[in-house]
């Protein structure tokens, strides 16, 4: 490499050129994917709805009004009312909160726990790697919903415990991704080079290994959201999730059990919201996987 190209490369590096071009390219690929863009717009909209729910509706989600119970959609109640006379639209809007909380907090907690463990296991190898691999095996031996249901039972059902239970099983995913990538990166020449410069291990991991994992982890985070949406809805449906009177789409679906054959609006709207959310977040994750080109690393 001549001095000229070297300084050119350094200048580009200093402006963050190389990294910027990767993310710009990824964004360009993402934007072309219609389902992914729909997912992104849906995610932004539903977040705004979750934040501003009290401003969007004149009703309270837990106000019981027997006089207006079980009404179909009308001008006053666009989605009708449930068996206790609570406004369905209000409950649908408020129910976006536990859905997003479970999705985002579980993903973040999984990254916070899984990434350090995965990086250390993959980098150090040996006994610590063997231990972490056993842990990953342990949590992959059963379908996640069985372990989550078991944990929620032991801890007693609530939104907080659902998030804790989902984290206990969910960190394994981020850990496995990071471990695999670190394992591959560890043998690269540039890592040997920075090690030879005498840079401490933690700096090597934070500045030279982790940036390589960023696209993979972003995709992993997004891919976990549809699972969390499904888990929150499913467990609330079984009565093991959000406690009433706080609403959740899965719980509203379960509540409609005795009524929906005559008042189908009680199951139509929660069903649409659950399916739409899973579709949107799944589409966003699929779009990210293609845009970031992480498929061959997984």
């Amino acid at each position: 490499m001549t001095a000229d190209t070297l300084s050119g490369a350094l200048a580009e590096r200093a402006e963050g050129g190389r990294y910027a071009s990767f993310w710009v390219g990824a964004w360009r690929r993402f934007r072309r994917n219609k389902l992914a863009m729909f997912g992104l717009i849906y995610a932004i909209l539903i977040s705004l709805i979750a934040i501003s729910a009290p401003l969007l509706t004149p009703y309270e989600y837990d106000k019981i009004q027997p006089a207006v119970a079980l009404q179909g959609p009308s001008r006053e109640h666009p989605m009708g009312t449930d068996m206790l006379g609570r406004d369905m639209l209000t409950r649908i809007l408020y129910a976006s909160r536990p859905m997003l909380l479970v999705g985002i907090l579980t993903g973040l907690a999984g990254l916070v726990i899984g990434v350090p463990i995965g990086v250390l296991a993959g980098y150090l190898g040996g006994v610590s790697d063997w231990l972490v691999t056993r842990l990953i095996d342990l949590f992959s031996a059963l379908p996640w919903y069985l372990i989550v249901l078991y944990l929620v039972m032991v801890l007693s059902p609530s939104l907080e415990n659902l998030i804790i239970a989902m984290t206990i099983t969910g960190w394994v995913g981020a850990c496995r991704l990071t471990r695999g990538l670190t394992f591959a990166v560890r043998e690269q020449d540039y890592i040997e080079a920075v090690r030879a410069l005498g840079i401490p291990t933690w700096r090597v991991l934070v500045y030279h290994v982790l940036p390589q994992a960023a696209p993979l982890l972003l995709w992993g985070f997004a891919a976990g959201i549809p699972t969390s949406v499904f888990a929150e809805a499913g467990l609330s449906f079984l009565g093991m999730g959000i406690r009433p009177p706080r609403p959740s789409w899965g719980q509203m679906l379960a509540e409609s059990g005795n009524y929906w054959q005559y008042w189908p609006h009680m199951f139509v709207f929660p069903s649409i919201m659950i399916t739409l959310s899973v579709l949107a977040f799944q589409g966003m994750a699929d779009g990210l996987r293609k845009a970031l080109d992480v498929s061959q690393n997984v």
Partner: protein, 311 residues
């Protein structure tokens, strides 16, 4: 092959042992229990002590675990708190057929329909047929089975009255649960089949086979299918136990008396022996399927055998 088999088996045993330790210790160390919540009649400390002594809950945890493990090795998972007249093993044996039937049929439906759709999409790659199948697969896969259950019951039980809306009876009672459970799963099967076939079809050996003048039917059966079968079998076979364990949602919608219903019920009641028994039973079932899949892998793909025997 024998060494490979033994090593895999040992690994599964270690995982099952760790899982049982984890679930057991968790259930005994977290405060609360069946005698703590929802009791209408107040219990004296003496009564609680008697209850604990009866179920061996007064011993140290490690002793409890060893006793439980010794019994579990002979498939004796104790007696449910809430149904002392039946043992956990009896109960699992009694209700397993319901879950196995619904889950097995649903998995069979998902694999059959998904395979057909996937093959069609792969054969007509990048045409409008491919687009329709792929879009169907993405969309249907996002509908949770319990939502699908509600939709089917509304149209086919409530409105058209073709099938009963729930409960257990003749084959007619099976139709809606199996379809509601199997249909969303067709999406994943179709996508995976299409991907595996497309990958095999674009490989060099397929081009070589065509270049040699092998007819299309011959290329498809001898070269494409044989190679695409490997990743397909390894992901489709575990669907059977997977769908048996996941049937709790669909059993709830249709009120079926299967294992999932008892798992949810015993979770709500904190019936630890029953939950532990069902969890470990499911883990064994799933672990054995993965083990069988690994062995089958060696049968389908001769490369695995050769590499293993050379090592």
């Amino acid at each position: 092959m024998i060494r490979y088999t033994l090593r895999r088996f040992l690994g599964i045993m270690v995982t099952l042992l760790l899982l049982s330790l984890f679930t057991f210790v968790l259930s005994r160390t977290v405060p609360g229990g069946p005698w703590m919540q929802g009791v209408e009649i107040p219990q004296t400390p003496a009564q609680i002590a008697a209850f604990k002594a009866k179920y061996g809950l007064d011993k140290p945890i490690w002793q409890q675990y060893l006793i439980w493990l010794r019994n579990a090795l002979t498939l004796d998972f104790g007696v449910p708190f809430s149904m002392p007249e039946r043992s956990v093993t009896r109960l699992i044996g009694d209700v397993l057929p319901y879950s196995a039937l619904v889950g097995g049929l649903a998995a069979a439906l998902a694999i059959t329909l998904g395979l057909i759709l996937g093959v069609i999409a792969a054969a007509r790659q990048d045409t409008w047929i491919d687009t329709i199948v792929t879009s169907y697969a993405v969309f249907i896969g996002t509908i949770p089975s319990f939502v699908m259950g509600f939709i089917l019951v509304y149209f086919f039980a409530s409105q058209l009255r073709w099938f009963p809306s729930g409960g257990w009876g003749g084959p007619k009672h099976l139709v809606l649960p199996v379809v509601a459970y199997g249909l969303p799963a067709t999406g994943g099967v179709a996508r995976w089949t299409r991907q595996c076939l497309a990958e095999a079809m674009s490989s060099d050996y397929v081009r070589t086979a065509y270049a040699k003048g092998v007819r299309q039917a011959g290329v498809m059966t001898k070269h494409v299918l044989r190679n695409a079968l490997i990743p397909m079998v390894t992901s489709f076979l575990p669907m059977f136990p997977g769908m048996m364990t996941g049937s709790m949602f669909i059993e709830q919608v249709f009120g079926l008396p299967g294992l999932g219903k008892y798992f949810v019920m015993s979770s709500t009641n904190r019936d630890y022996p029953l939950v532990l028994g069902i969890t470990i039973f499911w883990a064994i079932l799933i672990a054995l399927t993965y083990f069988a899949t690994d062995l089958l892998y060696g049968v389908i793909d001769p490369r695995v055998r050769i590499v293993e025997s050379a090592a």
